[in-house]
Symmetry: C2
Subunit: 271 residues, 2 copies
């Protein structure tokens, strides 16, 4: 069974893209076949993986608005075996408004994913590696609760919420959980929050410890044991078109994302 996980949080700059990219790379390193779906018009995840996202390249806009099969937009990621990406280009910036008047506007990604998962079970996988399906689909979202993020929440089975260890992050969490709850009751009854990941934890500040303690107290079952530290190596990696795992495999950032990936994968076997 393919695990479909959407990485969502309407608060900006909390580490959604960094988490989607580095978890996907970590899972691929650990032997899983992973597809990263980029739903953010900024296309930061596509950039971080070094895939082509110039204007004209087939991308998630074509899938959501024109109904192009997802298989047609998937590209392999150079240098990382078992990892593919369905990129976002600037076209996607218009999609939020265009989707408002389209039929089944909230479930266009879900239709594309179910056709895709059915496809890859039968024939050769889009990345050409023989008939194996993807083990994980990781979806990166923009910082809003608009129709792109809603498509992600409707198309996924699980939500992973990155929470920056800063004050405003807590304010947004309640609003996000309310939105997830209404998606669950109206559009996707099987949706569950499978993980909260604390990011940019700066051990030198009291604020980070306070925020982390508060989140763990509220969601003891859901917060992953692994916390991602604030680390310059993590923020430098995308300027080289690399994940932190490729850029500096021994750094605390790389090791923590590898650990978080193991924890996430382990959840599957025990739940």
């Amino acid at each position: 069974r393919t695990r479909v996980i959407v990485v969502a949080n309407q608060k900006g700059g909390v580490g959604k893209t960094t988490t989607a990219v580095n978890l996907a790379a970590a899972l691929a390193t650990q032997g899983m076949r992973v597809l990263l779906v980029d739903l953010d018009p900024q296309g930061n995840a596509s950039t971080a993986l070094g895939v082509d996202r110039r204007v004209g390249v087939k991308n998630m806009y074509d899938v959501l608005v024109d109904g192009m099969p997802l298989t047609d937009v998937v590209q392999p990621v150079a240098g990382i075996e078992r990892l593919c990406c369905a990129p976002a280009t600037l076209d996607l910036a218009g999609a939020e408004i265009e989707l408002v008047t389209l039929i089944a506007r909230e479930s266009r990604l879900r239709r594309a994913l179910s056709a895709f998962n059915a496809d890859s079970a039968d024939g050769p996988a889009p990345s050409g590696e023989g008939g194996r399906r993807f083990d994980y689909l990781i979806i990166d979202c923009p910082p809003s609760l608009g129709l792109l993020t809603v498509n992600g929440l409707v198309g996924a089975d699980e939500v992973l919420i990155p929470v920056q260890c800063e004050y405003y992050a807590l304010e947004g969490l309640r609003q996000l959980l309310t939105s997830i709850e209404s998606v669950r009751s109206y559009l996707n009854p099987g949706l569950r929050v499978s993980a909260i990941l604390l990011t940019m934890y700066d051990a030198r500040t009291r604020l980070a410890a306070q925020v982390a303690a508060e989140v763990r107290a509220h969601f003891p079952e859901t917060v992953l044991r692994t916390t991602i530290p604030r680390s310059v190596r993590i923020s430098e990696a995308p300027s080289y078109g690399q994940t932190v795992i490729a850029y500096d495999p021994g750094s605390s950032g790389a090791l923590c994302y590898l650990e978080a990936a193991r924890e996430l994968a382990h959840q599957d076997t025990t739940s």
Copy 2:
């Protein structure tokens, strides 16, 4: 004349709210009358200024969607003379989609602001301090280029762009400038980018220096001389419902925002 400045950048977490709040407070400390307009459904600016934003409180949703006069939603900010706030509540989260089908959807804020500016020139100002108008209207936006941010760009005369000294920040700048250009040619011919402010500059990293140098090279006339350093005091202040200027007036963060405010105010007298 009232200066109307929108703080915009669709990249998340770059310091829009922190800049809007602390510049507004700095300008007020320096004798200006300032109104902060919160267009972000997360309402982080309203929280940072400690104003009431519980459900039911009159807010920017009522102004944009129902045409309520802006005067009716303005609240004074406790503890900071000459500073008022027009708050955002969770109602605003629905406004992006609701605005799509409303008449004049892009210029509803502009209509409200011109009625407001006409009002406050004649009668007692909403903050009750006698007939004086506001010297500055500062508008905080959500991390997207949707209809809330477009309303901000159409309603304002100037754009201030906070740019975080990180890699992804550069990618987003080009997209933002393209959007500003189309707002200028279709909806607001007088709009100009009056300032770019470099934020979260971490002097210990090469990355920050590289990003800052690149932004200064591309926009030599527009980037403010003052850079805002990464500083824990800045991120701690909102958890006390305070601006960094009130929380720790001698900190580098407070001093830099006071300096940036002076630089911004000085622009007016020389341009």
